[in-house]
């Protein structure tokens, strides 16, 4: 009987040697005359176990990891292909606590199916959301998405269904669906995982969006730093088109929808939606003033839905299982699940999809397992380069849009970057300003000039040059950037800077007392 071996082709597995491991299995199988089939999947998101090799058994898929190419022969000798115990064996992967305790809705198939096989996708509930969407029609789709409570997963947290309704209400004309796949935030990789591990779900989500608002064309704006995701998406788009899921009659219906992948060019600011639209139009990626909203005047001045990868990839399950099903997960105004990404100096780095409400401390200490260096956790940055640094005292903050805002932070795209006690928070604050200066599109003054002045101020503060006075100027500058910038780049850069200053004043050579008095 053919033994099925599953090995990820996700970048996160490739970067630690999954290709060499696959090659080793092919070689061993040939030499030993074994009857095996190697299936390349996406990643389960347990990256400290990659390359994770799974063997299909009667009990389920049994996992071994991390596997080294040089040890493949030994593992086969030890009975791996029969699913036998071994110190590298984690048992049936679906029952492995780290995986089992998640609520995988958006990532239901990721790591399980072959991302290049439309048949595999369809065998795992793929395109059931579209079927339902075609049955109920545009208005009911929008209502279903509104009822799910889904909010934009790119960071802003705007209700997805409301955005769709705005575009649907514009008069019939050329409209567009744009997927923001410019996942530039350090500490995030969920978009990449979807595109590499379950690309059809994104295509399905965009197709449903198109039907809902009357758009016939879509663009995925995908960053150039993700060559494997670009390849995976292009393959999937072609497969979907060949099978009639994209084209003049989507799945045999009267709706037309097609799409293409466009590659970015290394500008972080193009993750901002209006800057992304300018970039797609072939211009410098400069931010636009709002209003007008992209929903009214978007890509090529046409009504445009622009959503993050995760928002769109969540739509199929909302359609197939219903808005209320999704809404029943979560807390407060944060409904459903959030794919949280654990990164940085962390023992168990990976993707953990769970209902909103889990505390930061649970994520870092229990699920993440603390630092990889073994040293104490000192700071955690949540929400990418524009997110706040949290000290251990705030670890009881629940993962929820409003709770994080109340703690002067943001959940952003769900990235959690852990730092141990060797971190110099003044340097991290300086880096936030430096990054903003490098990546500023230059359109508005608070961001363009403020970030450069902020870097200089930080240098003076660290050098002890008139520190007290310069700290006051820094706070004033941050205030100007926060309220005077056109977009979140300049507007949110003060979050990492001010949170570092507020929670770790000792790194700035300042006493805690003075800062509290200044507030």
């Amino acid at each position: 009987m053919t033994v099925r071996i599953y090995i990820s082709r996700d970048s996160g597995a490739l970067c630690v040697g999954a290709e060499a491991v696959t090659e080793a299995f092919r070689k061993e199988a040939k030499e030993r005359g074994l009857d095996v089939e190697i299936i390349r999947t996406g990643s389960r998101g347990m990256y400290w176990l990659e390359p994770l090799v799974e063997i299909a058994t009667d009990q389920g898929r049994v996992g071994y990891g991390p596997v080294k190419a040089s040890k493949v022969g030994n593992l086969i000798d030890a009975g791996m292909l029969e699913g036998k115990p071994h110190k590298k064996c984690i048992g049936v992967v679906d029952d492995y606590p780290w995986f089992k305790n998640q609520t995988r809705l958006t990532f239901a198939r990721c790591g399980i199916i072959d991302p290049r096989s439309l048949d595999d996708y369809r065998a795992h509930k793929g395109y059931e959301g579209l079927k339902k969407a075609l049955d109920v029609g545009p208005e009911a789709i929008v209502e279903e998405v509104i009822s799910s409570g889904l909010r934009g997963r790119g960071g802003a947290g705007f209700p997805t269904g409301i955005k769709w309704r705005t575009v649907a209400a514009t008069p019939p004309q050329q409209k567009y669906i744009v997927c923001n796949a410019d996942e530039g935030d350090s500490g995030t990789f969920a978009d990449r995982m979807v595109m590499e591990g379950d690309p059809f779900v994104l295509i399905e989500g965009m197709t449903i969006a198109g039907i809902a608002v009357g758009a016939t064309y879509g663009y995925i704006y995908l960053r150039s730093e993700y060559p494997h995701a670009i390849e995976a998406m292009n393959i999937a788009v072609n497969e979907a088109r060949k099978a009639g899921f994209l084209g003049p009659n989507v799945a045999g219906s009267e709706y037309a929808f097609d799409m293409e992948v466009r590659v970015g060019a290394g500008a972080y600011v193009c993750g901002e939606e209006t800057s992304l639209l300018d970039s797609l139009e072939g211009k410098r990626g400069e931010v636009r003033a709002k209003p007008p909203l992209p929903a009214h005047i978007g890509l090529f001045a046409k009504p445009t839905v622009i959503n993050n990868v995760l928002s769109l990839a969540t739509v199929p399950i909302i359609m197939s299982d219903g808005g209320p099903f999704y809404r029943d997960f979560g807390m407060g105004k944060s409904r459903g699940t959030m794919p949280i990404q654990l990164a940085g100096n962390i023992k168990h780095g990976g993707l953990y999809e769970t209902a909103f409400g889990i505390s930061l401390g649970e994520l870092v200490d229990d699920i993440g397992g603390g630092t990889r260096s073994g040293r104490p956790v000192r700071a955690v940055q949540v929400g990418g380069p524009l997110g706040a640094y949290f000290p251990r005292e705030l670890f009881d903050t629940p993962f929820d849009y409003e709770a994080f805002a109340a703690a002067d932070g943001l959940i952003g795209h769900g990235g959690v970057v852990v730092f141990d006690d060797t971190v110099d928070m003044a340097q991290m604050a300086r880096f936030a300003m430096e990054f903003c200066a490098i990546e500023s599109c230059g359109k508005c003054t608070p961001c363009r000039i403020g970030s450069a002045r902020g870097m200089e101020l930080m240098d003076k503060i660290v050098a002890g040059d008139d520190r007290e006075a310069n700290l006051v100027v820094l706070e004033d500058l941050c205030d100007t950037m926060k309220f005077g910038s056109l977009c979140a780049l300049g507007g949110f850069t003060p979050y990492p800077v001010m949170s570092a200053l507020t929670h770790f004043p000792e790194d700035f050579g300042a006493g805690k007392k003075r800062l509290q008095a200044a507030e």
Partner: protein, 157 residues
């Protein structure tokens, strides 16, 4: 076979013609030119402007806005070290210093034998396995001094 073709306006015009009818064609054209020539020379700008019926200033503004586009071809191999927060948290600064020292170049530099170009990158999306790097299109994670040395050797070979 050399990695890139030598610049000729004729070849450039061919490439531009393949993409000029796409909507918002500037980025696809710039990427296509760089894939063939290893860079977007200044001489390409008037050709693009003409084909897209936009001003040369607009093309120039676009080329210089995006970090990806180069004026000269890179070395035989390009090593991008991630320098964003997640990789900083996991020892990225020490790796950068080591890479610079071993290659004898700074960030953005190319070794004298033109084998390796070293560049910073702000996030490869491999933050679960920081620190990370990319050699051409191959990705590497969980780097430490030994793994970096092996990677530098591979880059220079």
């Amino acid at each position: 076979m050399p990695r890139y073709q030598p610049w000729t306006p004729e070849r450039a015009s061919e490439i531009i013609a393949q993409h000029q009818h796409e909507k918002g064609a500037t980025l696809p054209i710039l990427h296509a030119l760089q894939a063939v020539f290893g860079c977007v020379p200044l001489a390409a700008e008037p050709l693009i402007a003409e084909a897209l019926n936009i001003s040369r200033a607009e093309v120039h503004g676009c080329v210089t806005f995006y970090h990806d586009f180069r004026r000269e071809p890179p070395g035989r191999r390009t090593l991008k070290l991630c320098r964003a927060e997640s990789c900083q948290a996991a020892g990225g600064a020490a790796l950068e210093a080591r890479a610079k020292e071993k290659l004898g170049i700074g960030m953005g530099g190319t070794t004298a034998d033109r084998r390796v170009t070293l560049e910073p990158v702000y996030c490869l999306g491999l933050c679960h396995s920081s620190p990370a790097a990319m050699l051409d299109k191959d990705v590497y994670g969980m780097l430490d001094a030994d793994r970096l040395d092996a990677l530098l050797k591979e880059a220079q070979s």
